[in-house]
């Protein structure tokens, strides 16, 4: 059964590493839904957070194949475990006078912020997990969304509470 998986991949922070991973996915016909790369606390290590899809056999292959790349230090599949997930979205929505109050209310409910205002638009900044982002996009769609920029998902394990 095809399922969404979030992979957290620690890699050497070197030129060409992202290309090795992206090339592996395109070469073997695997799916990338989103991809997010940045340095970690260790300057020589980057974290790639990737959302991908596939059945269990394909996912097993994806994880093994990614692990096989020499510059990959560790691959963890966050799915089926306790984790926190966030994505940042900037969206520019039509905001005519009669709709402005409603849009602001929705933004407020989702704890978003208006970061730019014009005569006929708001640019809104929203942070949340996939469900929350989907929900606000659905609510704002009727007003006319002009543009969206999304960071892609980043995620981390929750620490085991019983231990702490």
């Amino acid at each position: 059964m095809t399922k969404k998986h979030i992979l957290s991949i620690l890699v050497d922070n070197e030129p060409g590493v992202l290309s090795r991973i992206a090339g592996l996915f395109s070469g073997r016909g695997y799916n990338i839904d989103s991809l997010c790369v940045a340095e970690t606390a260790e300057p020589f290590v980057s974290r790639i957070t990737m959302v991908t899809k596939g059945d269990s056999m394909i996912l097993e292959q994806i994880k093994k194949q990614v692990n096989k790349i020499i510059n990959v230090i560790k691959v963890t599949d966050l799915t089926d475990q306790e984790f926190v997930e966030r994505e940042l979205v900037l969206l520019k929505v039509n905001a005519k006078a009669e709709h402005r109050a409603e849009i602001l209310r929705i933004t407020d409910i989702f704890r978003g912020q208006v970061v730019d205002v014009g005569q006929e638009h708001f640019t809104i900044n929203i942070i949340g997990d996939t469900d929350k982002i989907t929900a606000i996009l659905t609510l704002l769609k009727p007003f006319g969304i002009r543009e969206i920029a999304r960071t892609g998902c980043i995620a981390m394990f929750r620490e085991n509470k019983s231990k702490s």
């Binding site: 060409g16 090339g23 510059n71 230090i73």
Partner: protein, 562 residues
């Protein structure tokens, strides 16, 4: 501390890694390396095409078990290596390819003979490097060799810009390689092996299925011990030939698309399959759903990605083939395995019977049969030659009719199926094993893909023998057209082929020809004893097919036998 140039560091590090031979071709940006090379005692084999250099280094590695090295220039020199690198990558062969690159300042400027070879070879190398600073060079070379030869071996490319090979730095031998992101598992999990012992104990129809991993880890002795002690018959992939003696009564021959009847039937009926160093390629499995349908499958491999990729296995064992088999044999020694079960004996009898009822045969007529040439070659060389092959029918007949007994004795492009591999491979193998007889079994198609390496063989007095099974066709493609495309021989008939005897002579080699069956033995004998490079042109039955054959996508028990 002394200061060395990049070129000097490169050559020094090659010596440190135990390299004594390089296959290569010079050019603009590697001039400084070649200038230094002239002052070392490293042997450089000047090939006639960069593809030849990589295949030769590849076969050198296969024959010797060491890392093969080649050195070429930037741009076209580098792109010409790609087919060779992909060939080595598919067959997990340890080679290090050093390509020159334009000076770092010019990279990205579309400079003369510039190409992004690191980008191009990323998907077909185990790993690759662009060295931007001479200070990183020594460490990079050490890492490259470590990666090439450890774990599941493979090709590693180092791209070396001209300015890096000129600039100087103080040289210090690098420390041992420690890579936190790369630690292959050599020693398998004991619990998994215990399961295997138990499965062997219970099995009534066990089968060993061995592959290239057994050759690469030189696990042939351990494999023979496991098979003989427990009376388990052995089949292997094309890449695994020579991993188990082709003369042993437990040997079933190769399996798969052109496997023997008894090997394919054994796979289809066995109740335990111990797969060692294989990756279940589609040419082996046929229709995957019906592959080994009654078997519990154990898979031993150093590369976790080979496990559960094409076939669901019951007991995965991640580890080096040699170490895993050694441990398995020890565990079996400490276990009471009981008497040989009557069902097990029946299984062996059943396999013997298949061998009798459906042997590997061909019809002898008054035209030379390609199979006959190889049978005779086997007989006259006492089965001791190193055989390289091209790709196609010649390769399959070589695999079927020459019986290999040693790892590194059969050298063939298995995974990629690279035509033009055999001759440069013969050159590389002959350099690795100067005292052995090296024979390239070729077709009239593929021999023309790297025929220029005859000049290399002659220049270095390498007495390689080329046996051309000349049928005037691209035989394997024609066979498919014959069987599955209503004999529409679209573009597979050569309207013109050079006279290979004259061609051999033009290269300064010896050319011989046989056109009738009774001439075969004489030509082979004359060719084998000759101290020079020889091309033997055997004019064979034009429309002979390789049998058995499993049509693509069919289960391997459904073979066309004639």
């Amino acid at each position: 501390m002394s200061k060395l140039t990049g070129a000097q560091i490169l050559l020094r590090m090659l010596k440190e890694e135990g390299v004594d031979t390089i296959f290569g071709y010079p050019g603009g940006v590697v001039l400084d390396i070649y200038d230094e090379l002239a002052r070392t005692d490293l042997k450089h084999i000047l090939v006639r095409h960069e593809q030849g250099a990589v295949h030769a280094a590849d076969a050198y590695a296969r024959a010797s078990g060491k890392v093969g090295v080649c050195l070429v220039t930037s741009g076209p020199g580098a792109t010409n290596t790609v087919t060779g690198i992909a060939t080595a990558n598919m067959d997990s062969i340890p080679i290090v390819v050093i390509t020159g690159q334009v000076p770092t300042k010019l990279i990205g400027n579309d400079a003369f003979q510039e190409v992004d070879i690191v980008g191009i070879t990323r998907p077909c190398t185990k790993h690759n490097y662009l060295v931007k600073d001479v200070k990183d060079l020594a460490k990079t070379i050490k890492e490259a060799f470590h990666i090439a030869r450890s774990g599941r071996p493979g090709p590693v490319l180092i791209d070396l810009p001209k300015d890096v090979s000129i600039s100087k730095t103080s040289f210090k031998l690098p420390d041992d390689v420690q890579l936190r992101s790369y630690n292959p598992t050599y020693v398998p999990n004991r619990k998994q092996l215990l399961k295997v012992v138990d499965m062997i104990k219970k099995a009534k129809k066990p089968l060993i299925f061995s592959g290239g991993g057994v050759i690469l880890s030189r696990a042939h002795k351990e494999l023979a011990e496991l098979a003989k002690k427990n009376k388990i018959p052995v089949t292997s992939t094309l890449m695994g030939l020579g991993g188990f003696s082709g003369m042993d009564p437990l040997w079933l021959g190769m399996l798969g698309m052109h496997g023997t009847y008894r090997a394919n039937m054994s796979v289809s009926e066995c109740d335990l399959m111990i797969a060692v160093g294989v990756r279940f390629d589609d040419r082996v499995t046929g229709k995957t759903d019906e592959f080994a349908p009654y078997a519990k499958i154990v898979q031993i491999d150093i590369d976790p990605t080979s496990i559960q990729k094409n076939i669901q296995v019951h007991v995965p064992v991640v580890g080096d083939c040699k170490i895993s088999l050694e441990l398995l044999n020890q565990m079996i020694d400490h276990e009471d395995m009981g008497e040989l079960k009557p069902e097990h004996q029946q299984w062996l009898d059943r396999i013997d019977n298949w061998k009798k009822t459906t042997p590997q045969v061909y019809d002898q007529t008054d035209v030379i049969k390609p199979q006959y040439v190889i049978e005779k070659l086997f007989e006259l060389t006492k089965g001791e030659a190193i055989i390289t092959t091209e790709v196609g029918q010649n390769q399959m007949w070589a695999a079927q009719y020459y019986h290999f007994t040693q790892p590194g004795q059969f050298i063939s492009s298995g995974g990629l199926g690279t035509m033009g591999f055999g001759l440069p491979a013969a050159v590389g193998a002959q350099v690795a094993a100067p005292d052995k007889l090296v024979v390239d079994i070729a077709g009239d198609g593929s021999i023309q893909m790297n025929i220029q390496e005859m000049a290399t063989a002659v220049q270095y007095n390498l007495p390689v023998k080329v046996v051309i099974l000349n049928n005037g066709f691209l035989g394997m493609v024609r066979q498919w057209q014959q069987l599955f495309y209503d004999k529409c021989y679209s573009s597979t008939k050569f309207q013109h082929t050079p006279d290979f005897v004259k061609l051999a002579e033009a290269y300064g080699a010896v050319g011989l020809r046989a056109t009738k069956p009774e001439e075969v033995e004489k030509v082979l004998k004359e060719g084998i004893v000759c101290k020079k490079a020889v091309i033997m042109d055997f004019v064979v039955e034009p429309e002979e097919c390789v049998y058995p054959m499993v049509p693509a996508g069919a289960p391997i028990s459904k073979m066309l036998l004639v």
